[in-house]
């Protein structure tokens, strides 16, 4: 699997000179299997930039298809859809998997995003490509080409966000953005879901101090991420979904502190990366 980060920011895009290095676009990660199968994790504003690159290949010719896994439908995870150039090219096909509380609600939410009050697109039916929405059952394995995909519902404030586990040839990527654990930390089921992942992309929105002041919002600090990584015995932790107020220097400090937190918890062997726009990882 080849992973690339297109948006690593939480809540709202944060343009400006102080986010040049890590990037100011909201959540979007692409995953390519060895045979070229494409899976897209979340549709924040980073999706626009992924789309522009995809146009150079089969998606520009109307012969592309991809699976989109949506953690949840908060704005910073769906805003890129209307600006994703390949959905306007007839012949391309996208299958979006996710859930939003009740059956059918996810499609209504995505349709509502295109409502003429908010968007000049009016409706999903005006996208030129085939775009289908599917309800994803948690803890059930779905196969997409050579990839085996499973979802787990994590607590996220007053709602839930899906974490995804994607496996190819026995190696696993876990994507866990937008998660706020209860006081006792992640549940046993959650740890089992992360267990042994080669790479864990985990929400590190806050420093512990900021996290305490904003716990009800349902995000993690780097301490939470480090604890989850060590407990689940992952090989590599990728920090993700930074607070919109953090500049590059703040994220540098967050990374150093996360390294120390991993070491202090017995995770000295865990590789740490701070996700940045354009960063590529291989599994």
């Amino acid at each position: 699997m080849k992973i690339r980060f297109w948006g690593v920011r939480g809540s709202i895009p944060s343009p400006g000179p102080d986010t040049n290095r890590y990037g100011g676009n909201t959540s979007c990660v692409s995953v390519r299997a060895a045979d070229g199968t494409l899976v897209i994790l979340d549709m924040g504003t980073g999706l626009m930039h992924l789309g522009n690159e995809l146009l150079a290949g089969e998606f520009g010719a109307g012969r592309g298809h991809a699976t989109i896994l949506l953690s949840h439908s908060h704005w910073d995870h769906i805003q890129g859809l209307g600006f994703f150039a390949p959905v306007f090219v007839g012949g391309n096909a996208f299958a979006l998997w996710g859930r939003a509380g009740a059956p059918g609600r996810l499609e209504v939410a995505l349709e509502g995003q295109m409502n003429p009050n908010y968007s000049p697109l009016y409706t999903l039916r005006n996208l030129g490509a085939t775009f289908t929405v599917h309800e994803l059952e948690v803890e059930r394995t779905v196969e997409v080409g050579p990839l085996r995909i499973r979802a787990h519902a994590n607590p996220h404030g007053n709602t839930t966000a899906l974490a995804f586990r994607i496996e190819e040839d026995g190696r696993a990527l876990v994507y866990a953005s937008d998660v706020g654990y209860p006081e006792g930390g992640p549940s046993a089921a959650c740890v089992a879901f992360y267990r042994g992942a080669h790479t864990l992309i985990h929400d590190t929105t806050y420093t512990p101090a900021d996290q305490v002041a904003r716990r009800a919002r349902g995000f993690s600090s780097y301490e939470d991420a480090a604890a989850a990584a060590v407990t689940a015995g992952v090989g590599r932790l990728a920090m993700f979904h930074y607070d919109q107020d953090y500049g590059d220097a703040d994220v540098d400090a967050l990374r150093d502190a996360c390294r120390a937190a991993l070491d202090a918890r017995g995770g000295a062997g865990i590789e740490l990366v701070a996700a940045a726009e354009g960063l590529e990882l291989e599994i």
């Binding site: 920011r9 343009p15 400006g16 704005w75 600006f83 939410a109 995003q113 003429p116 404030g157 007053n158």
Partner: protein
């Protein structure tokens, strides 16, 4: 009055090194009378930083009142509202003005933005008082000592232009709009791009002429015109139904209304800083050639203009 730009980008925020100088945040302009409450035009992502600045003053103590004029409710003009810090402090009052809907309460349109499953904090949970006022085109009203007028623009689902007069100066904000020549944009979805220069149905043409005349009339005597110039002429020819203008369209309105100063605004998301420099330079060269004497600026985040009695 002091006019400050907090977000100058159209469509979608554009972070990254190529937008550092002009800025990547979406539409938001502050009009601050010499005394009195801030008037804010549009609530794109630029509103977030303005909110933080306001929260450092009287809004931090819950004693502030702000007025927000919304051109229209496309995402790039409302995305910053849930991130406007004064809304999270009891005692503050925020008044939002936007075009009255035919069959929907304005509050509902805005509430959907922050309802589940889109956002964790619904409008009803905000600590500040948040009031909505529906406007009809042509309406005139006052905000403190400021006189405000509005007229409609040529944009899908309809946008409003605003004029604010206070401290002996007038500023017009006209974004988003297509020129008033090739397609009438209202509530229908237009799937196929109309041909630029092709004749229009007489009724549509009359409506567009009336719309343009009302805008020119509203601009007359203003000191500054802030105008949607998202497109190059070539981009406009490809997408006249998207509802955006070129610098030449903006210059024509400024010229016809006798406005001495034009500010290019609502820059295309992909336009880099260097490209915007070139757009501005080409526009200025056009003005020199035409001899109209209009001063042209290109809006950037942090640009501050002082107009009227405070002017240096």
């Amino acid at each position: 009055m002091r006019v400050r730009f907090w977000g100058v980008r159209g469509s979608i925020p554009m972070p990254g090194p190529t937008t550092n100088r002009y800025g990547g945040n979406t539409s938001c302009v502050e009009v601050r009378p010499a005394s009195g409450d801030p008037i804010i035009i549009d609530a794109g992502t630029g509103l977030r930083r303005l909110g933080k600045e306001l929260a450092a003053g009287v809004f931090g103590d819950g004693g502030g009142t702000a007025h927000v004029l919304i051109s229209h409710t496309h995402w790039d003009h409302i995305q910053g509202l849930p991130f406007f810090a004064p809304l999270y402090r009891a005692g503050n009052q925020v008044h939002v003005y936007a075009r009255q809907r035919e069959n929907q309460h304005l509050r509902t349109v805005f509430a959907t933005q922050t309802d589940a499953p889109y956002f964790p904090v619904p409008l009803d949970a905000l600590q500040a008082s948040l009031e909505f006022r529906g406007l009809v085109e042509g309406e005139a009203f006052t905000i403190g000592a400021a006189q405000v007028r509005c007229t409609r623009l040529n944009h899908p689902w309809v946008a409003m232009a605003y004029r604010v007069d206070v401290d002996g100066a007038g500023v017009v904000y006209a974004s988003d709009t297509a020129p008033f020549s090739d397609v009438l944009l209202e509530h229908d979805f237009i799937k196929t791009p109309p041909v630029v220069g092709a004749p229009l149905a007489p009724d549509g043409e009359r409506q567009l002429q009336r719309m343009r005349a009302s805008l020119v009339e509203m601009c007359r005597g203003a000191d500054l015109l802030i105008y949607d110039t998202q497109f190059t002429p070539e981009e406009y020819r490809q997408r006249p139904h998207w509802g955006h203008s070129t610098p030449d369209d903006a210059l024509a309105i400024a010229r016809d209304a006798g406005v001495p100063r034009l500010c290019l605004y609502h820059h295309a998301p992909a336009r880099t800083d260097d490209q915007l420099d070139a757009v501005l330079e080409a526009c200025r060269a056009g003005v020199r050639a035409a001899g109209t004497g209009i001063e042209v600026l290109a809006a950037y985040e942090g640009l501050e203009l002082v107009l009227g009695e405070d002017a240096p």
